[in-house]
Amino acid sequence: MSTIVVGYDSSNCGKQALDRAVEIAKSLGDQVVVVFGYAPPGIWGGEIAEHEEAIEELGERLTAEARERAAAQGIEAEVAMVPKRGAEALIEVAEEREARMIVVGSYGEAPLKGALLGSTPNRLLHISNRPVLVVPANG
């Protein structure tokens, strides 16, 4: 039994990504792991630990939401919270589980905007050693 790693952020494309991951996992008999990376963006300073905790709580809420959504489709998803940025968190879990693939949603942004906003799919495609499936919001 292999694993499919998915990133979820409660946006439309995140939901699509999760649904696709669940769909594929069901037909292949794979496990689903919902990953949330909670490293705070930006450099040091201020109450950074507090910032990290706030993100962690957000992550707990989002991943619980994802588990419910997957459960409704008959998959008992696992959750992994990783203190890293989005792409790096997904890759870490994918490597550890020797995952079949990583599934993420795409905001469908113009490439330049994506580059400016630090798009996670973009980064994943460049640095992941495992297959990456990018699901558009209306996919």
Binding site: M81, P83, E95
Partner: protein, 523 residues
Amino acid sequence: MESTAVPPPGSAAGKPAPGTGSGAGEKGLKANAIGFVSSVVIGVASTAPGYSLAATLGFVAAAVALQAPAILLISFVPMFLVAAGYYYMNKADPDCGTSFSWVTKAMGPQLGWIAGWTIVVADIIVMANLAQIAGLYTFELFSWTAAAESTFAVTLVGVLWIVVMTAIVVIGIELSARTQVGLLAAEVFTLALFAIVALVKVYAGDAPDTSVHPSLSWLNPFSLSASEISAGMLLAVFIYWGWDTTATVNEETEDPGEAPGRATVISTLILLGIYIVVAFAAQAYGGVEGLVAEPEDVLSHLGAEVFGSPLDKILIIAVLTSAAASTQTTILPTARTTLSMARAHAMPGSLGKIHPRYLTPHVSTILMGGLSILWYVSLTLVSEDILFDSLAALGLMISFYIGLTGFACAVYYRHELLRSVKNFFFIGFGPALGGAILFYLLVKNAIELSDPANSESGNAWLGVGPPLLIAVFFLLLGIVLMAVQWRKFPEFFRRRPEVVPAGFLEGEAPPPESTGVSEEEVP
């Protein structure tokens, strides 16, 4: 690509697998201690030397004439003393914090709230200042003198600058560590080049008539009156503002528990070096007259003469990148303070919201950007000659909350102070003395500024100097807002001060019991 299962950097063998569910093992931050070079860069970049000099040097010279370098030197003393306090506060309450959580712990929620509020107000005011410098220097970069002299044009670009910087922080764009090192190196190099060329010209006789040969007596503060010293220092504490965060950076060392990192020492030496050398050179080249003539844009003014066109543009670019970098080290940390206050129910809960995609405290950040714009535009409408006065007001606020943190350290560690001579001096006497110096500045300047003739702009607002009025206004506003929040969410204000148990530093006692900020539930 089969089995190229290279572990990602940092996930060394033996490290626990990322846990499932909540409470996944250790906090991330401790693992994210940063390297030596990054620590130095953060320390220097947080203070933004290019921008700080551009904003203050002219005004300091106006206050103390040739003794400006002496003022820059002695202003460092209280900041240094309190920074030791920052270091120890961070030790008891690891992974960074600000005066808000530290003063709350040591001296109770009311003072803590006011400290947090002061940080926020100082941030709003400094953003207006940064915007003004950025607007001015942007036009000077393109030698568009007419626009640089138009208040409307400068304000417009300044507002745009705040909008862009706020957006950058909200979206969470960050420069890579390498880019930051590069930018900082360029800034330091440019300032050094400016100093060398200026000094060479002074000795070669190529400098204007107002130039003076450097003298060591410029470093002597004793030839100044107490009023001159306090007025000069009030302006100059600003140039070290931001440096204090260095003391809380958890540097990657073999023994992170040991004395404040080498990075802090190195970044301090670099900063002091830059300030003293550039101040010497600028003053030697232009004389006091040259610095005071256009105090609002002293570096672009002198740079044009020292370097000539088009080389002078690199100095302008250095100041602009410095200002940009300092917004990164100013806006986000402050937004984190309001985030923390909101999570402790000390401020409205919406300020504690995190953007689900960008993971930044976007509500706090946008609100602060908006308030900065409001403040900047209304100040410009009231008076064009306000840069100095808001800088002096900023000095009052910085002195207040940093001084308070110095006292908080001594109070928080009171059971540790008599356990060793080192403890007494570094944790108790030092930070408290730093706090006392800053409070002396505060009181002395408040008294002097109550006579409007003593403010640089000479304006009188409600019969007192504008800086004092600005500071008192925000203090009163803060007290009112605190009262409102107190009525709505009394539980934060019922918190009792804590104390570090004796023996904590030697590892004989556990860290202080926290009823603290981080234990609070999010609404």
